[in-house]
Symmetry: C2
Subunit: 475 residues, 2 copies
Amino acid sequence: MTTITPVLLCGGSGTRLWPLSRKSYPKQFVPLVGDTTLFQASAQRLSGDGFGAPLVLTNSDFRFIVTEQLAEIGMDPGAILIEPEGRNTAPAVLAAALWLEKSDPNGLMLVAPSDHVVPDAPAFRAAVQAGAKAALEGELVTFGIKPTHGETGYGYLELAEDPESFDAQPLRLNRFVEKPDAARADDMVKAGNFLWNAGIFLFSVRAIIDAFMAHAPNLMTPVQTSIDEGKPDLGFLRLDPQAWGEAEDISIDYAVMERADNLSVVPFSAGWSDLGGWDAVWRESNRDDRGVATSGPATALDCDDTLLRSEDGGLEVVGIGLKNIITVAMPDAVLVADASRAQDVKNAVAALKSKKAKQATAFPKDHRPWGWFESLVIGERFQVKRIMVHPGASLSLQSHHHRSEHWIVVEGTAKITLDDEIKLLGENQSVYIPLGAVHRMENPGKVPMVLIEVQTGTYLGEDDIIRYEDVYARD
Amino acid sequence: MTTITPVLLCGGSGTRLWPLSRKSYPKQFVPLVGDTTLFQASAQRLSGDGFGAPLVLTNSDFRFIVTEQLAEIGMDPGAILIEPEGRNTAPAVLAAALWLEKSDPNGLMLVAPSDHVVPDAPAFRAAVQAGAKAALEGELVTFGIKPTHGETGYGYLELAEDPESFDAQPLRLNRFVEKPDAARADDMVKAGNFLWNAGIFLFSVRAIIDAFMAHAPNLMTPVQTSIDEGKPDLGFLRLDPQAWGEAEDISIDYAVMERADNLSVVPFSAGWSDLGGWDAVWRESNRDDRGVATSGPATALDCDDTLLRSEDGGLEVVGIGLKNIITVAMPDAVLVADASRAQDVKNAVAALKSKKAKQATAFPKDHRPWGWFESLVIGERFQVKRIMVHPGASLSLQSHHHRSEHWIVVEGTAKITLDDEIKLLGENQSVYIPLGAVHRMENPGKVPMVLIEVQTGTYLGEDDIIRYEDVYARD
């Protein structure tokens, strides 16, 4: 049996699930439904018999989140390609294919977004296997979701005839249909031979490269060059920014699928959602008999068809007498919306951006290669942070012009460099970093190290930093 | 002109404005409408020409909040009587009268709750002055609010005849009417000769004592004894708990007003609310032309008749497409309720109590005689607090069995006692308090002192404290 390499696309950063999904930490990395994140669930769904190690496409900001989240579920990435900027799906898929061509040109690749929900993973793996024979024969196989309603947010796949059953046998595909208006969507659902386009594809490396050469030849040179000139960096491959910038910003649907004639579709009816808004999250959540879904310390009193979530901070959330309301509370932001207006959440993010609220894009926890930090309180001339450093990780050797810092270790062990001195601090030990001192914080231990940092100074911005050495190659 | 002593009742702790009003810090001490707290606004409303220093009745938990809030607006209390427990309004009013009898038996007293809103303070003072002549002649004067709707939450005052005008001349009062049902309330509003009972009273000290002797003689001995046996304490008078406990728990309406026949009422139509629920707060707030009122960092997108408040912590709150929704976000709790269900907020508090959520009763900031503290983060074996100490204030001399503490001063100057040593710490200086060490924190300066405390230990409860000396006479 040919090995299928999962190609996970996770460079996106949607705003429709704000405040839980933000530019700095988007929805694929969040446990929106269930205990694992959507990215982790996607990687696990496409693992086991017949699947190889995943190839991940992401961007520079998310690269350490990817490795951290894979490590949490005990998976190794086959490779991580870093897109210098988002250029839509066609260049990303081609880059994956050209990368895989070097090692396994006859292999199969399964391209999937990493922010979808597919509750029945075994059923989905069976659907993938059902498409494998056609893919090996050179077909470009898509996966079509049986529509449950006239959704205007998805593209559709038109079959040559009604699928007689949804037992996952590949069918001939007539054509791709772009996102319709509501009337057209209803017509298509009634017609019976239209499926939702889930944006999931299975093909051989050779077949998709051939298809790009036939239908989007202009992408070949820039994407090939971006790989050839790419820079390996701490286990990632950074695609060459200049070549990558010359690749057309275009989706694989437009660039290839709508032009190809070797298309098959595997119908799938066991449940799928792209979680395109909080209303979709509500539908995918466990709801009681009045349609109420809660998570975290949330209490619904006499509510109907309502989503009440308290995330990541222990805020007590109480809803009273609500109908069709979505409430998502975070330690720094709260969304309350009528469920019918879920698609307008992106407008809220735009409104916050225009008033320069950091909550529009930044998460309370700022994830870095070495761990994360969060600001606990900010005063006029002081700031208190909680800082978590992964075992074995190390911050850059640095100094500040405008602030001094007190560090108190509260969990684990820290190795501290302070000018010419190096010392180990255990729980309940502290050190003072005077203004201007060259210093570094490391976690030499086997468990996470947490310390409390109290900064004092006239300017406390993150940009007051001079880096002397950095294992993560940052400026 | 006789001086009128304002008697401010502020021992109550309602739950209908949770999460902003909690048992530990109830609504009268919160800036619900405008920049000052309701208590401060009440004190200011009854000040100036003709008014003496206020006599405040409160309980032990709130005594330092009272003095702090009066100091903030530059007012001195005439006296502060501490009720050992709440016994409703009759014992409180009698205690105030018996206290004032000692210095000014012929004076007038104006009894008012401290959690009401009266936007037009000059109009209210004029109404009080309009009742003064009748009060000096021995009448018990109440204030009747012109009803705007058939409210079932208030008692009513029945006049002998329709008030011809609301120009604040005292009228004869037929009787007190208890809270009606909705139909009866509508009938009374239509009838025209019924006013809302605002629970505000004006009488001479002698007249109200006479009325208690006539209509509620059983209260006289316990209340007089509670004063005679009361203990002066740091400027407060703690009423004697045993005697106080023997006073009947009864309202002044039942005990006196409904039995007396020397009643007058001054009609008042310039605006009043008891802020008995979030819907009332919404009505008293500045609303835009779609009926939306926001406060703090709150953004309403396409909402109608909605209250969006972000309190005391900078959470960004966004509402989208809401109608008749109340949202109040605090750093530790969020309420989202249909406006028609505002009276059910008390059920929410009960639900939180039954699940032992501290947010049911405790405020994020814990107010103490010396200032306040708040917990910034709590871990398994550590806690970080922000502590604010008023100028001149001092914590108790204390030690802990189970925790050590790091203190870092971030604003002002601290005077630290550590075993036999005393030292001054300025901004950006720190000290380590080992487990078991006897220590004290003071603010010797003229500006507030803020420090960050990082506690480490196996048990971090507030009850791990041994107090050696305490200027506030606590155990």
